[in-house]
């Protein structure tokens, strides 16, 4: 069975924010909420400045605290493909997952009252398509694929480059990896 991960090559990100727009469009994300975002970190002193661009989304953790804390089992880890997903009709809106998530990946849907988050576009992946943000990425900074397959692009990238994950100290074992060739990772 495939285990899906995302690799984000930060050097290739141009900060166009097209991923955010396509995500909102594809998933009908309510106004004022985002399932993905691009962080712009400026460091240094003028004129010697550096900007780090870092796309962030749900990390689809292997040890997802949101799933552990959910009282109803509405949040779950799909064992077959490793995605952290949500059964919306079971969510009571208790917000324990939001408190548990170290990445601020979740929000309460303002109209429907359930928790909502990035699904790795599971509805597209099932049909053999890439997630919307990956498909639209102009610099091919976002790469999506199966980490179990040693010949997949993500496996090759992770083999050949130094990669890191966000807040791995939180014990979450994230499935979104970052490759940063320009600025030092935090």
């Amino acid at each position: 069975m495939p285990k899906y991960v995302m690799v984000i090559d930060q050097a290739r990100c141009v900060g166009c924010m097209a991923c955010i727009v396509s995500c909102k469009n594809e998933n009908d994300v309510p106004p004022d909420h985002f399932r993905t975002r691009v962080i712009e970190n400026v460091s240094g002193k003028f004129p010697k400045l550096r900007m780090e661009l870092r796309s962030e989304l749900c990390n689809h953790c292997d040890h997802p605290p949101c799933v552990y804390n959910c009282p109803t089992g509405a949040s779950y880890k799909n064992k077959e493909n490793g995605m952290v997903l949500l059964k919306k009709n079971r969510c009571v809106g208790c917000k324990a997952c939001i408190a548990a998530c170290p990445y601020d990946a979740r929000y309460i849907h303002p109209e429907h009252g359930y928790a909502d988050k990035c699904t790795f576009c599971s509805h597209r992946v099932e049909k053999g398509l890439e997630p919307a943000c990956v498909k639209t990425c102009i610099g091919t900074s976002r790469i999506f694929g199966d980490i179990e397959n040693p010949d997949s692009e993500v496996s090759l990238l992770l083999r050949d480059n130094y990669s890191y994950a966000l807040k791995s100290s939180a014990g979450t074992d994230p499935r979104v990896f970052y490759i940063n060739r320009i600025t030092k990772p935090e």
Partner: protein, 410 residues
């Protein structure tokens, strides 16, 4: 036929006792009813428009409701401070009033459950959390544990209180052999409602303010202050408006126990304060926000120092026998402890878990008008429930209210 009607007649006898009272009593009921209706109206607004009418956002996902819930879990567990001296040490003056403590626990747990329901975005799906009926995520989710222990504690106290009242209302002695196991069970259970609620916050690795092992012990220590302090004040009111006798010995003993609990609470606070500020790691930020303000955001600073000063001075007032046994200073200390712990174990515990957020954002939270009025409504409902329960229980306890048994001799 008359046998079957007897329980109904008894019900009306009880109803007569509950509805009879002076002007002050009716004014109190009307005042509470008004708050409840207003709270209900606000809650309907919240149901209609969603949680957006509260000031909770993605950054601060738990707010005033969960703060009140946390404080009330503490009040509920405080009954154990009466149960232990009453039954384990057979301390007679407290044994006479242990029932009141258990009734306060029932009222507090009911308020807890109402606050949790108020906090839900989709309360109509609440049954999913229940065991068997729903798809409860047990044992992974601490919230599922919380559902079990809170409802269990409610059941234990209901059985204990209503069994005693039932027996007394028919003029019979209650059997200690039946009551004893329930009482014994209620002691660890009271500790468990605290521990589980504390663990609910404690287990979140991304929230450094909560992810400290001192959280659960401090929780219990502060609960053993606030609940009994509330009880001391309630005892004096009960003593004044009813014929129930509550001895000073009992009240002073409870005050002494509060002093010890507060001593432990202050010590644990100091331990936490030292560790954070001396090591000055990145985990210091929430503590800094609470006590000194962070990047110009300092909504809670004045409150937290007020709580600290209140707790400290109440500790000394209750420690000295002279001030402990003077009703003016005793009541002052109790009010200070209730306020202090309400700040410290309410907003002071929940909000810094979210400030700064996991992305380093600071969203300063304060309850919205809807949150305030719904909370007021819940408190009023708890007070109304407790008042009516007392109005029934006190005449039974003092022997004024006795039901006639059915003729078949039940």
């Amino acid at each position: 036929m008359s046998d079957l009607l007897q329980p109904i007649r008894n019900f009306f006898t009880a109803l007569k006792f509950i509805t009879k009272g002076g002007t002050g009593y009716y004014a109190w009921l009307a005042f509470l009813a008004m708050l409840i209706v207003y709270g209900l109206y606000s809650y309907i607004t919240q149901l209609d428009q969603g949680l957006i009418v509260t000031n909770m956002r993605d950054q601060v996902s738990w707010g005033f409701y969960i703060s009140n819930f946390t404080f009330l879990v503490g009040v509920a567990a405080a009954a154990v401070l009466l149960v232990i001296p009453a039954y384990l040490y057979n301390f007679k003056p407290i044994k006479e009033i242990v029932l009141l403590g258990e009734m306060l626990a029932i009222a507090a747990i009911i308020m807890c459950l109402l606050f949790v329901i108020s906090d839900m975005g989709r309360p109509e799906r609440g049954w999913h959390i229940l065991p068997f009926l729903g798809t409860m995520n047990f044992p992974a989710s601490l919230l599922a544990w919380d559902v079990l222990v809170l409802n269990g504690y409610l059941a234990i106290n209901c059985i204990a209180v209503f069994y005693v009242l039932y027996k007394l209302s028919y003029g019979k002695e209650y059997k200690m052999s039946f009551l004893w196991p329930i009482i014994i069970l209620s002691i660890p259970w009271a500790v468990s409602i605290h521990t589980v609620t504390a663990f609910l916050y404690n287990g979140l690795s991304s929230r450094p303010f909560w992810n400290a092992s001192i959280l659960a012990p401090r929780f219990i220590a502060s609960a053993l202050c606030s609940g009994p302090a509330l009880m001391i004040i309630l005892f004096q009111i009960v003593r004044k408006v009813s014929e129930m006798e509550i001895s000073n010995t009992a009240i002073f003993k409870i005050a002494e126990l509060i002093a010890y609990a507060m001593g432990i609470n202050l010590f644990l606070f100091m331990a936490e304060f030292f560790k954070e500020f001396y090591s000055g790691s990145i985990h210091l930020a929430p503590m800094e926000y609470l006590y000194f303000g962070l990047h110009g955001h300092s909504n809670l600073v004045a409150w937290m120092w007020l709580a600290f000063i209140f707790n400290l001075s109440a500790f000394f007032l209750l420690l000295r026998p002279k001030t402990r046994e003077n009703f003016f200073t005793l009541n002052m200390a109790c009010v200070m402890i209730i306020t202090g712990v309400y700040i410290e174990k309410g907003m002071g515990l929940i909000i810094p878990g979210f400030i700064p957020g996991t992305l380093g954002e600071i969203y300063e939270y304060g309850p919205s008008a809807v949150e305030k009025s719904v909370s007021m409504g819940v408190w009023a409902f708890g007070a109304l429930f407790f008042t009516l329960l007392l109005k029934f229980a006190l005449p039974v306890y003092t022997g004024k209210l006795r039901f006639k048994a059915s003729e078949s001799g039940d």
